[in-house]
């Protein structure tokens, strides 16, 4: 194999996590009881090292501004952005996983290995317009996640959630595949960016079959971002999976699916004018349904994880509003929103680990009074929840601000009003989290149980939550830096938008 440096540079970010994953998997073969503790530490260390190396490599690419490519794999600025995004989420997941899996008593090497493979798949998924590569990436990150949801096999609902996610996910993947096949059959090329002008030249731009193909592709993306009506798996899968994995799914899956959607629909398909317009209309309808259903269903949840699942559905709705506006500035807003959303949701799920909630004990009542017992976590929770609700000066507000601004500018005032009403509703259930933490005192029974149980000790999860809270606050005060210096440059250099 004679690869040019540029080709190596495009491949290395994908290879690091895979190598790390293989090493971790090999380490987990050792069943010697005496060395278990050290092996565990080594596995987590290796995983962090792999993720850290990827991060370091990607930031290096970012600062030099190089845009390496390996055939259909373009490690451009947008892909580098995605890579950094996914890798940070994975690092936070690993940190939280250390504490969470110890609390659950289920420390297994394959969890980390699967996570690392998934990271690699996500980067692949978001860095190409070639259909086969795209599908490869989709499956490479989805299949490990199906397994990760059911990873704590000791819990019966864990297998149930994993199975449910797998079956629905498989249907979505096959729809995605079918969509690609239709486009390929009509255009004769697998590269979607080339297929679009070919189809347009053939006068097939408005062909119903092309529309069906594009719709099936869209379905695949919407399933991954858990937009209504493809959202049913979300609450069950989140509830079943370990907290850090649920956080990782909610953040990374949604993030890369949106970024890939951005790469394909508004950009690669821009020659198929009618597809873009029709898709925008479809997205508008689905965004409205997603916002309404996600928020209203979240209101009545008693389980924090299910609440967070519906909240993540409703956040998909806000991000889809960015696509409805459809301007480069709106995509800038979507990317900024994703950065803050990463910190908010990894923080929110990290809080559950930091407060030591395990198994089924993740209701609002289990959180009562914990904010006062763990003040640093309590303040972080306040920052994260208020940011999720979009209250300034937290970063979440600026994400919504950028998207709503573009909606209003493009004449979608009604959608913007719906969006703000949705975030008003959402404020109620986020406040409920804070009500439980600060405004309610623990019941006598919970107090008694707490005194029996040893004090929760989750330093790594706590640290990761603090990092998340810091990013959320930074989003509120360094908003221009993050939005213009980071998200915007990914768009400018990656897709040639906003130039």
């Amino acid at each position: 194999m004679n690869l040019t440096p540029s080709q190596w540079a495009a491949l290395l970010p994908l290879l690091y996590p895979v190598i790390g994953g293989c090493l971790v998997a090999l380490m987990s073969l050792d069943k010697d009881q005496a060395t278990t503790k050290w092996i565990r530490a080594a596995m987590y260390g290796t995983a962090l090292l792999a993720v850290g190396a990827t991060f370091w490599y990607l930031t290096d690419l970012w600062t030099t501004g190089s845009q390496p490519a390996f055939f259909q794999l373009h490690m451009d600025r947008l892909a580098q952005f995605t890579g950094i995004f996914v890798v940070v989420a994975a690092a936070l997941t690993i940190l939280q996983g250390w504490d969470h899996f110890h609390q659950e008593g289920w420390v297994k090497g394959e969890t980390l290995a699967l996570l690392l493979f998934s990271v690699s798949g996500m980067m692949l998924f978001a860095s190409t317009t070639h259909f086969v590569t795209l599908f490869l990436g989709l499956e490479l990150f989805s299949i490990p996640l199906y397994a990760l949801v059911g990873t704590v096999r000791a819990r019966s609902e864990s297998a149930e959630g994993g199975m449910k996610y797998f079956l629905t996910g498989a249907v979505a993947s096959s729809c995605f595949l079918m969509g690609g096949v239709i486009i390929y059959g009509l255009s004769g090329t697998l590269d979607l960016a080339i297929a679009a002008p070919v189809l347009a030249a053939k006068g097939l731009g408005t062909d119903p079959l092309v529309l069906v193909g594009a719709a099936l592709l869209l379905l695949g993306f919407l399933f991954k971002v858990s937009a209504v009506p493809f959202h049913q798996w979300t609450p069950d899968a989140y509830e079943a999976s370990p907290h850090p994995i649920a956080g990782f799914m909610s953040v990374a899956t949604k993030g890369v699916a949106f970024i890939a959607l951005l790469r394909i629909f508004p950009v690669a398909f821009k020659d198929l004018g009618v597809v873009g317009v029709k898709m925008q209309a479809v997205l508008a309808v689905l965004a409205v349904v997603t916002l309404v259903l996600g928020n209203l269903t979240a209101l009545v949840q008693t389980n924090v994880k299910r609440m967070l699942a519906y909240s993540s559905i409703s956040h998909a709705g806000y991000l889809m509003l960015g696509f409805v506006a459809g301007t480069p500035a709106a995509f800038n807003g979507v990317l900024f929103y994703l950065v803050i959303y990463l910190a908010m949701n990894m923080g929110a799920f990290g809080l559950l680990t930091a407060f030591g909630l395990v198994g089924e004990k993740t209701t609002f009542d289990d959180l009562r009074g914990l904010g006062w017992k763990r003040p640093a976590m309590g303040v972080s929770a306040a920052i994260i929840m208020l940011s999720l609700a979009g209250i300034p000066p937290m970063g979440g507000f600026y994400g919504k601000y950028m998207i709503f601004r573009e909606l209003v500018a493009t004449g979608h005032v009604g959608m913007a009003i719906l969006g703000v009403l949705a975030s008003l509703v959402s404020a109620y259930y986020y406040l409920r989290f804070l009500v439980a933490l600060f405004l309610q005192s623990p019941g006598a029974e919970a107090e008694r149980l707490a005194s029996d149980r040893p004090l929760v000790h989750a330093p790594l999860a706590g640290a990761s939550v603090l990092v998340c809270a810091a990013i959320v606050m930074a989003g509120g005060f360094l908003q221009a830096f993050l939005a213009n210096g980071f998200a915007r440059r990914a768009l400018v250099d990656g897709l040639g938008l906003l130039r």
Binding site: P392, Y398, Y401, L439
Partner: protein, 538 residues
């Protein structure tokens, strides 16, 4: 020190937050030290605000200003723009004054987590001062929303039995108004290319009138919820009654003012035509608020709830004054905002003091308090009379100017609405004095269980020290209100001229005598209230 010389407003706004963070970092066990630290910090901010903001003359020009470009997001520049001028000078001083005073007044009211409470209080002060000083609408919006967070926790953690409901209601109610307002703000910012209110005002004039009206309505609803204007007032009784004393004082003293201030600073200057178009509905709602608030206050059994509903009535006067679009009415509204901050703040403090002793606020549980607590009674009486609007107290001047303004206003409805609103003054006397009679006079009402209330002690030195400045202010504002409205006169005159307010109607028998001589009569000897009244004849 050079930084401080060039950034006094930044210091005033953010110093409380710094102290608040410092307190939060202190361990729980140092609650008493934290409370002292918080008080000293708030006091220092008050002293500095007096030193820096007063004594710049009463020209009406901007007193202090700090302005720098802050950031540009999605093409809209946002300015870091703080200023103190005639419109907000006294509201700023009221805020910095009330915060340490309230801390001192409720020194022993809270038993647990006092350090955290002091920290939140200071964060709230930053929010209030920032909202009062911010001149860029985006910047204003940030403070406006951020203010909710500490107040939410103050009500929710330290409040009464229904505190969670009240805190949520307060938060969501206010948020609903301001989120819809945000959409209007974005719409206008898109047209204006930024959040500068002057640019926005220019952009607004290019829009069709119906659009202007919609935008004004969304501004007005956001501010009216805060005021609160009938029928958007329903959060207020819950929040006031459930909040701890300090929360109630600040809620009544400053937060409600921000609604009226928002009208004066942003809604009316940006949409003068639309504001004029809706002057009648605004005035009608104000009159309803005045009468309805007073009637509901009359039947309350809880003193605190009575004071809360009296707030609805008093803030109705503020809105009536603004809707009159006359100089005297608007100046009256300015003064009434300060009045309400002082008098209602004092009332909530007094109710808090008696609650700390008796652990009840029900009127029926009291009686004959005058015998047990004579000093308390004297203070309560003065504040009650001020709230009623007795001449020589502040309440009289504000309400008189507002009614005068409404009566003289160029709108056809002015005389009728002024007459209706006057009944609110009468009703105010009824509910306050009736409550006073039942609580303070008559035979002592013993608690059937224990046989006695804990009204064993009269006010101590600390409480007297808290109330004295308030009483001094009540009298000062009643006798020489010009101290407090002189600076706002020029901006208000300017505002109304640019809004093209209809000329005032004069109802004098011999117009020839009264029209010309305004300039000659300007000598202010003895008649403190007079000079501003003459401005009517501009």
């Amino acid at each position: 020190m050079t930084w401080l010389n060039s950034h006094p407003l930044t210091f005033l706004v953010f110093a409380p937050t710094l102290i608040g963070f410092l307190i939060m970092a202190l361990p729980h066990s140092l609650g008493r030290l934290s409370r002292m630290l918080g008080f000293m910090g708030a006091l220092a901010v008050f002293v500095l605000s007096l030193a820096w903001l007063l004594g710049h003359g009463s020209t009406g020009a901007t007193i202090l200003v700090e302005r720098a470009p802050w950031f540009t997001l999605v093409g809209l520049p946002v300015d870091y723009h703080l200023a103190v001028d005639g419109l907000n000078l006294w509201l700023v001083l009221l805020t910095t004054f009330l915060v340490p005073l309230t801390m001192l007044g409720t020194w022993n009211s809270l038993k647990d987590r006092i350090g955290t409470f002091a920290a939140l209080f200071l964060l709230l002060e930053t929010g209030m001062l920032g909202a009062l000083m911010a001149q860029d609408l985006f910047f204003f919006y940030l403070f406006w929303e951020a203010m909710l967070i500490p107040m939410y926790f103050m009500i929710g953690v330290w409040g009464g039995d229904e505190r969670r409901y009240a805190a949520n209601k307060f938060f969501l109610y206010t948020l609903s108004g301001s989120l819809l307002w945000l959409v209007a703000l974005l719409y206008l910012a898109n047209k204006a290319g930024g959040f500068n209110p002057i640019l926005m005002g220019q952009a607004a004039t290019t829009l069709p009138f119906s659009v202007q009206c919609w935008l004004f309505i969304s501004f007005a609803v956001a501010f009216a919820i805060k005021v609160p204007l009938f029928p958007l007032h329903t959060w207020l009784p819950d929040a006031h009654v459930q909040a701890p004393t300090a929360g109630s004082v600040i809620l009544a003293g400053v937060l409600l003012k921000l609604g009226g201030y928002g009208f004066l600073r942003f809604a009316i200057p940006i949409f003068p035509a639309a504001a004029m178009h809706y002057a009648k509905p605004l005035a009608l709602l104000s009159v309803i608020a005045i009468v309805y608030g007073a009637l509901v206050a009359m039947v309350q059994r809880d003193i605190k709830k009575l004071v809360a509903y009296s707030s609805v009535s008093h803030m109705g006067f503020v809105m009536l004054g603004l809707a009159s679009f006359t100089v005297i009415g608007t100046q009256g509204a300015m003064l009434q905002m300060l009045n309400h901050g002082i008098s209602t703040g004092a009332l909530f403090l007094l109710v808090g003091m008696v609650y700390d002793r008796a652990h009840t606020r029900m009127i029926a549980d009291f009686g004959g308090v005058a015998v047990k607590m004579p000093v308390f009674t004297a203070f309560f009486l003065i504040v009650t009379l001020s709230s009623i609007g007795l001449p020589l107290t502040n309440g009289f001047v504000g309400e008189f100017w507002i009614l005068n303004g409404a009566f003289l206003s160029g709108f056809g409805w002015g005389r009728l609405y002024a007459s209706l609103a006057t009944s609110g003054v009468l009703l105010g006397a009824v509910y306050m004095l009736w409550m006073f009679k039942r609580v303070f006079w008559g035979p002592e009402n013993k608690d059937p269980d224990s046989g006695t209330h804990h009204l064993h002690s009269d006010l101590n030195a600390r409480e007297v020290a808290v109330l004295l400045p308030l009483v001094v202010l009540i009298l000062w504002m009643g006798i020489h209100p010009r101290t407090f409205v002189a600076v706002s006169e020029a901006p208000v005159v300017n505002l109304l001229r640019e809004a093209n307010a209809p000329p005032v109607r004069t109802f004098v028998l011999k117009p020839a005598v009264h029209q010309a001589p305004a300039a000659h009569e300007a000598g202010p000897e003895g008649h403190a209230a007079e000079p501003a009244a003459h401005e009517v004849h501009r």
